[in-house]
Symmetry: C2
């Protein structure tokens, strides 16, 4: 990967954010990302989900031309609507932005250790079968590192109410990157994206003005390296670490279980790491 | 805990479910739970989120009498509305059911390794500050095993599209109970509930009729033990394993990190396990 070319060439970045209060830290950070990226020469696309009045819920209204009018399977109808160009217009618009983006930033307050419902509903509706999962080419099935969104980067930028200690390796909540695993690994990397380590502001409800400004400065500095930073080295499905495409091979992360076994370790032969061109 | 008294006494169970298709496995399972529990003599309360037209998104409409009209903090307004009896009527109705229930069953299809947005929005709106988190008594702060929902049981009953191997200890998705950790530990146990091991149907999109019937029989048999089963032995915040309320004490699960360290091991002195009376 040539960092020089990447950091100086124009890219498109989609910023998706979710907070009902325009003066919230979430909206401030989304605005900061937009200004910073534009000043770096990038094109910025926006999805302010509350301003859009985003429909969070998948239901029959989303599928006006049903493959099966008798029984609504969300996967089946999502794939059918995507293939036949009969998706809901709001879903189509968001997919157009997603597909035009070289990187996507998700800015949200962590509620119950996940996305607010309005943003989960953006994933549920926009990540259609065929586009983001069930991606097939030449008869092969791609997921986890390859797929419809391959070549794009993703960054979660979040605010958390609790203190950092609670999210530390032995903290009471569990480690931050494990709590976010269903999103980073299970959603974004699943669909083929390269996911950067999460940007987080802890104790977000009790920040003084100086702390908030310091957090913004740290974030702005990090955004300059958005296309140069090393993504989390999740193991790809088809890189050799999962001989049957389902379970780690016996010699891979031998004897280990749980999420950490699916991240390439420092010093390990990086045979499965895919870095987008 | 006296199983004999528990299993024969009448209890109230709230079944919350989320699927847009009434003929879906999700709705079938919700109906099965309702019939089975009623036949056991329990009172069953229902929240069919799609039938209710449940509003998934937290926004200003939820808070008609604002504590701070200038800036919407969801935590602040949620607590204020709960304390002052000015919550949205739909939120109040769901809280009434929740508080009347001795157990809550969440039935949903796993989408992107979490709840569909409509159910995440039930948590986001119904689990108000003061009711489900930030619970205080005599100046002490309670969470993780104690709190507003203490004494209630919770069960996730889910359908998953993928095969069981993908969710096994070394499966490519990560272990099932770790993927659900933000819900079981981070939401339900956080609010004080005792959480049972997850009920799951794998490969739900490709079940033949016999497999579906077998899954229903297994579920019905399990529901008979809803009030007798041992919950997941998560460590409670105030039981002694977290001396500073934030991080595991050095002698607890020594040398271990990640989610598993927060579950009491078989054979370990069970000093922190709280079983509801």
């Amino acid at each position: 990967m040539s960092s020089d070319t990447q950091s100086t060439s124009l890219r498109s970045v989609l910023v998706v954010w979710a907070h009902p209060e325009p003066k919230s830290l979430t909206c401030e950070f989304a605005g900061l990302a937009s200004r910073t990226l534009q000043s770096l020469g990038h094109r910025v696309l926006h999805s302010d989900l509350h301003a859009l009045g985003w429909k969070a819920v998948v239901d029959g209204e989303d599928f006006q031309q049903r493959a099966n009018p008798e029984r609504l399977s969300v996967a089946v109808e999502s794939g059918h609507a995507w293939r036949t160009g009969t998706q809901a217009p709001d879903v189509q618009r968001e997919q157009d932005k997603l597909m035009a983006a070289d990187a996507v930033i998700f800015q949200f307050p962590m509620w119950w250790f996940g996305m607010p419902a309005i943003m989960k509903g953006w994933i549920d509706r926009v990540f259609a079968l065929g586009l983001a999962y069930g991606y097939k080419s030449a008869g092969n099935s791609f997921r986890y590192g390859e797929g419809g969104l391959a070549g794009k980067r993703a960054l979660l930028s979040i605010t958390a109410g609790g203190p950092e200690a609670d999210f530390s390796p032995r903290g009471i909540n569990g480690p931050l990157e494990h709590l976010l695993w269903p999103i980073t690994h299970g959603t974004l990397f699943f669909a083929g994206m390269q996911v950067l380590p999460t940007q987080v502001v802890f104790g977000a409800g009790r920040l003084c003005r100086e702390d908030a400004q310091a957090a913004q400065q740290r974030y702005a500095a990090r955004l300059e390296r958005l296309f140069d930073e090393m993504p989390i080295p999740f193991r790809s499905q088809n890189g050799g670490d999962y001989p049957d495409k389902h379970v780690l091979g016996a010699d891979v992360a031998a004897g280990r279980e749980g999420f950490s076994a699916h991240v390439v370790e420092r010093g390990e032969d990086v045979k499965t790491l895919i870095v987008p061109a």
